[in-house]
Symmetry: C2
Subunit: 350 residues, 2 copies
């Protein structure tokens, strides 16, 4: 049972209590979660007891989990419901809002505070088959949506209009939600890897980057493909093929290589072609309930990638003011990398 594994990790790290917010961690342990709001909704895990501290309005919903609930009314001090001795050592959900942590610090005066990821990330990184299945179903929805979306791309539509059309298709086909706001950029905007969309109208000759994912039964997907409106230029094709080779190289990774080593597989290909300084991010990130979680495929991640870890491989080259190229797959480690996506890897020409 997942909470028991957490308690074992707490014993090893000398942590008395773990405090979890209504985040991906709460979903992992209880299958319940919600958007974080100003009323604290906490799961407190001690060595011998677990309970929710929750606003009264959640009582009926939470009663469907098997965990004790201590409710408070609007106007009542929620922190009086937390029974943690002063000076305890705490691990705190990484995504819990700081205002709750500040109030907990003031109440408990903890002897020590660790980010809960130090205890939980290793548990969450290795997926059960059912978790992998949910991601595969999500990918199926996301990829079908993308293929249907290609027909919607027409000169004169703005990036944000296109992003909305892609989202609409996700919902039509059965996504529960997006796993993040899609990135749909065009022309020189594609050199900004985290720009979402703008009012720029797409036009003939544009490179378009679509980086998209859905949530399905609590789990995330994340995929990137490059589209060209009309024939891509020789320069785009040149850069594209380097990125594709870099990705293929990382997708040859074997189990027990470190995140750093897999990052180097991709990075070395790009560096050898003199584009190293334009590959301005890591090669990939773990994915599961959160769209970004451990393990990381980056130069500062020296731990081993073992079987049943799921992560992305997404090298990119970004030429400021010109264009950017990124290709991203989701993969699962099964002795060697197995690509979970089934979309082809070529530029999609529309």
């Amino acid at each position: 049972m997942r909470i028991k594994k957490l308690i074992k990790a707490m014993e090893e790290k000398n942590i008395d209590y773990t405090i979890i917010g209504p985040t991906s961690n709460m979903f992992y342990f209880t299958q319940f979660s919600d958007e974080q709001m100003e009323r604290p909704l906490l799961l407190i895990v001690g060595r011998n007891e677990s309970y929710f501290v929750a606003p009264k309005i959640y009582e009926e919903q939470l009663s469907k989990t098997d965990i004790e609930i201590k409710t408070y009314d609007d106007g009542e001090d929620p922190y009086t419901k937390i029974k943690i001795p002063k000076g305890s050592s705490l691990s705190i959900d990484d995504q819990l809002w700081s205002v709750f942590l500040i109030n907990i610090i003031n109440k408990v005066s903890p002897s020590n505070i660790l980010p809960a990821s130090k205890l939980i990330s290793k548990l969450r990184a290795i997926k059960e088959e059912e978790e992998i299945e949910r991601m595969k179903k999500g990918l199926d929805i996301a990829e079908k949506s993308f293929l249907e979306f290609l027909d919607k791309i027409k000169e004169g539509k703005t990036e944000c209009e296109l992003a909305k059309e892609l989202k609409d298709i996700f919902y039509d086909i059965g996504a529960d939600n997006v796993s993040f706001e899609p990135i749909l950029t065009s022309g020189s905007n594609t050199s900004m890897p985290h720009l979402r969309c703008t009012d720029r109208k797409v036009k003939n000759g544009d490179v378009v980057i679509a980086d998209f994912g859905v949530k399905y039964h609590g789990y995330s997907t994340d995929t990137t493909r490059v589209i060209s409106i009309g024939k891509p230029t020789a320069e785009v094709l040149h850069v594209y093929n380097i990125v594709k080779d870099a990705q293929a190289s990382a997708e040859d990774a074997l189990k027990e290589m470190t995140g750093k080593e897999i990052d180097s597989l991709a990075r070395n290909v790009i560096t050898a072609k003199s584009f190293g300084k334009y590959f301005i991010h890591r090669t990939g990130h773990g994915i599961g309930i959160d769209v970004h979680e451990e393990p990381y495929i980056s130069q500062d991640y020296s731990e081993k990638i073992v079987n049943n870890m799921t992560f992305t491989i997404e090298p990119g080259i970004y030429l400021p003011g010109k264009f950017g190229i990124r290709i991203e797959d989701m993969v699962v480690m099964k002795d060697k990398v197995r690509v979970m996506n089934s979309l082809e890897k070529e530029i999609f020409i529309v």
Copy 2:
């Protein structure tokens, strides 16, 4: 200028630095924001300097603000970019993830930590006309969507199917996003005020609660209406009319009443009819960039509601296992309460 007002508040509260994440606060001060992710993206405000600490991938985007940017590469320690003397007093964005606060505490050993809401909420609570205009435009989209959505409600559709249809209409009509996942519950599920939706199929005789909002140009809306599929029962109508009277009473509030006093206006009506114990939440909350923000219309909010504050008035009665009723408007204080919604207040019978 908004950052100058923050610095003045810092001086009054003896705070040396305020640290803001990519949240509604960052949007308020810079008009830039993003989803919070594992890489810290921080706005540091000192008495004499402000700068971003940001992953390299954000550099080109952030350069469009006028604020200095200190970037770090994947693999580099972001906290080395924060130049804050040990022992400084800090105010921390309430919504900043705890993992970043824990790392900042370890680096800075602050003498004192305040939630930044203690400095910022009062600034944000009083809206400029342009902020009110954005919310009115958002409401216009949300209400038109709701009216169009009424035609979609048919026996046999599930709550979650209906919630998706409502969302689709939002995007069609021009919402940038939802301000929260819509609450679309039916039958006895309506007694859970924060349940989102389930696979329950709606049927003739059901009460349906639709609690919905959109994001438009960075600002949120929030509205609730009750729908009856077929003729409502006498009991539903009885409870509905009490809630409607309670709301009308709170909507008679005048400026400089406290949040508590306005809450009592609604609560007293419900208590007088012996339903007090079934009104399990506060009467309302401020709204702006965040869907919930100061001021709060609740028994523990003793501060005055002054002109140009925007908030909701949303009393409710929840009879577990039977049904719940809530009616919610957005209002702005202009000497007296002015309702921003234009939807009628009666039960919508479909």
